[in-house]
């Protein structure tokens, strides 16, 4: 039976899923079983000499005892099995594995297990037993429905929960382990902080031996994470990386070290480690000097994927709390790492080999009262406290103005938003938002969806390329260009700057800096739906960088900035 090994650094469990798709497999009186012209009498002697069997008495012809099951996994052979013993009568007793076809069985006065098979796809069907003749009686017990042709060992079920979780209590299971667990060659492997790699018994997560371990050998530093790539088990330690393979050793661990495949590169943070398609990605460090990087292991090859600029950001964090995740969405294959102390999330796209930041919007202070909005989008809000480029959600005004905007043209009691309409007067609200790190702590693909887990809020997200906003209502998409100087530092004049990209019913804002990102111009709105999405009269400059910001719920996709 397939086992899911679940471990923290101080304890471990394993979870198994029953193969029996019937619920309440011994309690035919439960509402999960539909009784048609059948009366049940509990407490009958069952095949195990207990009293868990039921007597089923037909009160009319073609009486049935059925359970509805919803199946997945596509078209498969399925088998229904049940223990039956005839009490009275001679009429047909039939079983169905697909809800439509019944197969008569020759039932005797002794307990026997009968089964019937059918090819069934992703359907909701009724499976069970039919008594053809009114007045006939049989005892029934231990129903089971599973994939396959032959019934396997019976597994009792009660509730709709198909899973059983068991804590590992074997005294030989290590008390403290490093992060990570590996299944390889039929065994589970964990690593202690001392770098000892222990193995479970074959196909048995519950059983461990104190003698079945191998010590990682290249250096004495602490074990950080145990991972797997191809057919190698990889021990990521504080200052080294070692590889092991299944040598089939008869005594002790089955593992032996892979000679000449040790890297003197260690793992800086266990929270940074991810397995993505058999490749291991992690934040690395070396004894030879301070400096972190993001490395990717495939087989015994190791390759740096971080850039020097990314490494400066890694170096600046204390690594007190680090989250990481991988995701495959649309054309993007992503590795994300969040440095909570610094408050940044760095994301690497394996497809484009490009790094970017991910942020998430959160409220910033209490909402301010809006008393008026002019037809051209000037908001009156006394002492609003917002600044140019701030992100705000306007609510309780009118459909013309409600929604997400970038604050521009700020005075003490007014600011502009990117909307026009019928002037509003009354009581609305302006909620300011600020950007924080991407809150995701884990990600996995299941049932065709990319799920992501919030670190603290209890939210389970779907990460979808069809959503252009986060659950808070918006995404702050921002692009800041390198400094543009046309290859020479002399003074130049700029007539206009145009955003070249998809035409959408939305607006972005553009600002620029001429002093090496120290100060910026005010943000100016640009309509992305018109033929020339541009701002004009941009003055003189020597070296200039632009910043484009978009917060609307729209597919923002920009190709270039065209300057005249």
């Amino acid at each position: 039976m397939k086992q899911l090994f679940i471990k923290s650094t101080v304890a471990a469990w394993y979870l198994t899923e029953t193969i029996n798709k019937i619920v309440y497999s011994e309690d035919f009186s439960n509402a999960a079983w539909a009784k048609s012209n059948i009366t049940l009498t509990s407490g009958q002697t069952d095949p195990n000499a207990g009293t868990n069997a039921f007597k089923a008495t037909a009160t009319a012809n073609d009486a049935t005892l059925l359970q509805e099951i919803t199946l997945d996994g596509g078209l498969l052979n399925r088998v229904f099995s049940i223990y039956v013993k005839r009490i009275t009568g001679t009429g047909d007793i039939s079983l169905t594995a697909n809800g439509t076809t019944y197969e008569a069985k020759t039932i005797t006065a002794l307990w026997a297990r009968y089964d019937v098979t059918a090819e069934v796809g992703n359907e909701t069907i009724n499976v069970g037993i039919k008594i053809s003749t009114s007045g006939d009686e049989v005892d029934v017990a231990f129903a089971q429905y599973e994939n396959g042709i032959f019934p396997s060992t019976y597994t009792a079920t009660t509730t709709t929960n198909p899973y059983t979780i068991t804590q590992i209590t074997d005294a030989d299971y290590p008390a403290n382990t490093a992060r990570g667990v590996v299944f390889h060659s039929g065994r589970f492997f964990v690593m202690t902080l001392a770098g000892e790699i222990y193995q479970s018994a074959l196909e048995d997560a519950a059983t461990w031996s104190s003698l079945e371990f191998i010590q990682s050998q290249s250096d004495p530093s602490d074990g950080v994470f145990l991972a797997k790539t191809q057919n190698y088990i990889v021990a990521l330690k504080e200052w080294s990386t070692e590889y092991f393979y299944d040598a089939g050793n008869a005594v002790g661990s089955i593992l032996s070290p892979v000679q000449n495949a040790t890297h003197q590169i260690g793992c800086a943070s266990d929270g940074s480690v991810q397995d993505f398609g058999g490749r291991i990605i992690f934040m690395a460090q070396t004894r030879s000097g301070f400096g972190r990087s993001i490395q990717m292991i495939g087989g015994t090859d190791i390759k740096k994927i971080s850039t020097p600029n990314v490494e400066k950001i890694l170096d600046a964090d204390d690594l007190a709390t680090v989250y990481s995740w991988c995701a495959q969405v649309g054309s993007h294959a992503l590795y994300g790492i969040t440095l909570v102390t610094t408050g940044v999330t760095l994301v690497y796209d394996f497809v484009t080999q490009q790094w970017s930041f991910f942020t998430y919007l959160q409220t910033n202070g209490a909402a301010k009262t809006v008393t008026a909005i002019s037809a051209t989008g000037t908001v009156t809000s006394t002492a609003h406290g917002l600044s140019d480029g701030g992100i705000v959600n306007i609510a309780n005004t009118t459909a013309d103005f409600n929604g997400w905007h970038i604050v521009t043209n700020v005075t003490a009691n007014t600011f502009d938003i990117q909307a026009e309409g019928t002037a509003f007067s009354g009581t609305g609200s302006a909620q300011a938002y600020t950007e924080t790190y991407f809150p995701v702590v884990a990600s996995v693909r299941a049932e065709g969806r990319q799920y992501m887990q919030d670190a603290s809020s209890g939210k389970l997200f779907e990460f979808s390329q069809d959503a252009y906003k986060d659950d808070v209502g918006a995404i702050a998409a921002r692009i800041r260009t390198p400094k543009l100087d046309n290859g020479e530092s002399g003074t130049k004049f700029m007539a206009s700057a145009e955003l070249v990209g998809d035409k959408i019913a939305s607006r972005a804002c553009i600002r620029f800096t001429d002093d090496d990102y120290a100060t910026y111009s005010g943000f100016r709105p640009v309509d992305l739906s018109v033929s020339r999405s541009r701002i004009r009269r941009l003055g003189k400059f020597s070296r200039r960088s632009f910043e484009i910001l978009h917060v609307k719920d729209a597919l923002f996709r920009m190709e270039a900035l065209e300057i005249e």
Partner: protein, 94 residues
């Protein structure tokens, strides 16, 4: 004069809020080979639980979500109690 809008992340001193970068924007190439900066995929709430996120894992096509010390299926059904700590996972093949 036309400039691409796909800068490689840059910083002089490790400060995250300076210099060239893309934020919540990913590079994409269309059928003609043009490279775009495109807003990242969004996070939609699929289901709400409570407590710290302690890991998610796929098992036989089902999603199992660990929040605080509880284990849930993706339909919200609570299936087990474990511990309130972050978990790692591995699956056997049989």
């Amino acid at each position: 004069m036309r400039f691409t809008l796909i800068p490689q992340l840059s910083t002089k001193d490790g400060e995250a809020n300076k210099n060239a970068r893309m934020t919540n924007t990913l590079a994409e190439r269309n059928q003609t080979g043009a490279v775009f900066g495109c807003v990242r995929p969004g996070l939609s709430v699929y289901r709400s639980f409570s407590g710290a996120g302690n890991g998610i894992v796929e098992l036989n096509g089902d999603l199992l979500a660990f929040f605080a010390n509880k284990v849930y299926m993706q339909d919200g059904t609570e299936i087990a109690t474990a511990a309130d700590t972050y978990f790692d996972f591995a699956q056997s093949t049989l």
